[in-house]
Amino acid sequence: MATDDDDILSGPVPAPDAEPTAAERAHAKTFAELVDKTLSGRTPPAMSADDRALLEVATVIRAASGGLALPAARQGALIEDVLRQAVGVGAPRGAGASHASGITPIGRGRARRWAPWAIAAASTLVAAAAIAMLWLRPPPKAAAPVAAEVVPARWTSRPTDPLIGPIPREHAGEAGARIDYIFADRLDGFRERRWSPGAPGSRGGKP
């Protein structure tokens, strides 16, 4: 089955006096407006592929008839651009320019073009190397288990029940004496820990 594209570009062309369809009229009007704009130097950048193909034919016909020349300003800018790219920005113009000092070798322009790519490639390599190092590095050695410090029970926090025991009813009001007793017991532990040589937190001497 023929597509619209085939119809327009390679399908049979009707005779000049054949009645056009509504679609053909619409397409012809669009093309006529494109030709209008092109003749006035305002060729729209966007158009269908079919219209572009036909417009190219129209331009070929116009070019062959000598109606198309590159405007002098465009030509000048284009040549300037080419030379600037070739000899480097800031190179002096004109025949009187110093050739030895002003002209940059064309290789420098090329190097300038390649510089961003070189930087990107180097960055990629560094990133890849970092990832490879992370991936290939030996697994960390398991830390040696630290032996639990042996601490005497009397240095630790502990219930006072074994020290006080059951409180008879008749001694219930002697709480101060019990507190003193507990305090004295805990102070012993503190002193022992504090002053025993080698004990954690010890100052290593006698009081």
Binding site: V13, A15, K29, L54, I61, A64, G67, V82, Q85
Partner: protein, 217 residues
């Protein structure tokens, strides 16, 4: 004789061009400026645009052509003739690079290439102006031949609108039709032109050989 001063002038220009080329080959690329200014227009108007049909693309190809010429000037060997054929060959190769990317427009390029005059061969000793004139004439003949295959009203529509560049209203008035009808006529005329242009190319493809062109790069 009138041709002697013209011949002297041509010889002087050729010597100047040789000096500019040698200067550029010694590393002063700015010496290419007069050469580029002299040949940009003939390259655009007779080599590139007629083969592309697209002004924006043609400018890009011209820029690429001149940039390649400046870049590769060290490889150019002066043989006592203008540098123009060398530039022209670069331009043609660039045009083909563009057309290779677009199957549809390739036939259009081939249509022109098959008609290249023998004198425009890079090995010939014709001068730049002569080559450009011959090429322009060849394009016109080719267009005229294709126009001759069209129906009278189609030919007139193209002549009025695209060659004489008359406004649509004036074209319609001269043909005695409405603007809408003229739009349809021009649309069909360009389609018919393209078809004939392509058909002649297809026939020429069996004998033509554009791939034998030497690439200067």
């Amino acid at each position: 004789m009138a041709s002697e001063p013209a011949g002297d002038q041509q010889r002087i220009e050729l010597e100047a061009e040789q000096r500019q080329v040698e200067e550029a080959q010694r590393g002063n690329l700015d010496a290419m400026r007069p050469i580029l200014e002299r040949y940009a227009q003939p390259l655009y108007g007779t080599v590139i645009l007629p083969r592309l049909g697209n002004t924006a693309s043609a400018e890009e190809v011209l820029r690429d052509t001149l940039a390649t010429a400046v870049e590769k000037i060290g490889r150019f060997t002066w043989q006592g003739k203008s540098i123009y054929p060398w530039l022209r060959q670069i331009a043609i190769n660039k045009v083909y690079d563009v057309h290779r990317q677009s199957k549809r427009s390739r036939r259009l390029a081939d249509a022109m290439v098959h008609e290249l005059p023998v004198e425009s061969d890079p090995d010939s000793h014709a001068d730049a102006q002569l080559i450009a004139d011959q090429e322009r004439r060849a394009h016109r003949e080719r267009i005229a031949e294709t126009m001759g295959l069209l129906q009278e009203r189609y030919r007139t529509a193209i002549e009025l609108r695209l060659v004489q560049e008359l406004p649509r209203e004036e074209c319609a008035r001269r043909l005695g039709v409405t603007i809408g009808t003229f739009d349809v006529l021009l649309f069909r005329a360009v389609r018919a032109f393209r078809k004939h242009f392509g058909d002649r190319t297809a026939a020429g493809e069996s004998t033509g050989d554009h791939t034998s062109e030497e690439r200067p790069s």
